[in-house]
Amino acid sequence: MAEETLEKTGSAVAKKPSEPLLSKRRRKIVADPLNEENPITVQVLGICSALAVTVKLEPTLIMGVSVIFVVALSNLVISLIRNYVPNRVRIIVQLSVVATLVTLVAEILKAYNYPMYKVLGAFVGLIITNCIVMGRLEAFAMGNKPYESVLDGLGNGMGYAWILLTVALFRELLGSGSVFNYPVFANLGIAYTNNSVMVDSIGAFMVLGIIIWVQRTRTGYVETH
């Protein structure tokens, strides 16, 4: 039943009754930001508040989920009201929608996982100014229908989250010798001295640089100055 209604809204939105809920075009909206149009490595958005939380995997996961939530829902809201917002005040409207959603995330986190809220600290609030959120609102949600906007938000949020998780994996493994707080090297019996550069911000820059290098070598994307 629920699927049927979704199907209806989906096709009503596309104004083409024949277009399925997850047509090829829509799958592309979700899949592109994961690799070829990745918000971090290709579009260079949202590096701001992100890297500071990648010392350990656990806070990174929470951060990733929060960003996916905020991007998808703010895309939906802005897409719904896009025809009623005067162009001149759109930035402040977008900011207030995003700030409301981020407040929601912060309050939920405070209520159910207070230690993690303490770890993330100001960086939850900084999702507001995360360029991915604003970038997608400007570039996609202002000109597209709600359902597509949600898909776009999900795609970009996930594209962002997987890069962050990769960075965090290397930083936690090499910097603290553990994965999700599970001491890998100690349990394997390998003597490993933690590399404190990885815990530092330097490690994040280097790991991200290498990820960008690898990914662009594979996709063949070259930036022209």
Binding site: T129, D200, F205, M206, G209, W213, R216
Partner: protein
């Protein structure tokens, strides 16, 4: 002495970019020419120097527990804590001040406006600005400390973006591997610069 230490700390040791990655988007996007980098950097110093103290006043006089009662609204407001409104209040203050600053500069100094003008709207969504305000709350500064911290972290940001822009201008003449061009090599440079800035740790008066 305490204020000088906060200044040094916010400019060099806890640099917004190298320690907290704040304002990275514009840091990467606008660091191709030194002149534009300095323009955006000074705008950040300016806006940050105003928004952090203003947000401090909002936080202390409106949002914390009992602040409304002190404003004369009566003892019924003694236990009211509006801190959940912090994000919205801060971001709206920043957006409003950016708008205000833009209008004032346009009237007072058209020359400066034509230099800074395009960057000012960008600043409203610069993480470094909102980040400074949030850190200021986290570290429980007083008003003077907050002002120094605001200006200091802005100056640190200006320093970082100018240095990166200078390096990237020279980078045009070097043979960088194709996939590393642009963002990739910039990340490595930033990492090395962060390394250099680490040497400031421990400096205090």
């Amino acid at each position: 002495m305490d204020l000088i230490n906060i200044g040094i700390k916010s400019i060099f040791i806890e640099n917004m970019i190298f320690a907290y990655f704040l304002g990275m988007c514009s840091f990467l996007a606008v660091s191709k020419k030194v002149s534009t980098a300095i323009g955006l950097g000074s705008a950040v110093v300016f806006v940050n120097g105003i928004t952090v103290p203003v947000n401090w006043i909002i936080q202390e006089k409106l949002l914390t527990t009992g602040a409304l009662a002190k404003l004369g609204l009566g003892s019924a407001f003694e236990n009211v804590n509006l801190e959940f409104l912090q994000f919205i209040m801060f971001i709206c203050t920043i957006a409003a001040i950016v708008q205000l600053v833009e209008m004032v500069i346009e009237k007072v100094s058209p020359a400066l406006y034509s230099n800074l003008g395009i960057f000012l709207p960008l600043i409203a969504v610069n993480c470094a600005i909102l980040g400074s305000s949030l850190f200021m709350v986290q570290r429980t500064y007083n008003l003077a400390q907050a002002t120094v911290f605001g200006v200091g972290s802005g100056v640190g940001w200006l320093l970082a973006i100018t240095a990166l822009a200078a390096i990237r201008e020279k980078l045009k003449y070097s043979n960088v591997p194709a996939p590393l061009k642009g963002l990739g090599i910039t990340m490595f440079i930033t990492g090395l610069m962060a390394f250099a800035f680490k040497s400031f740790i421990g400096i205090a008066l």
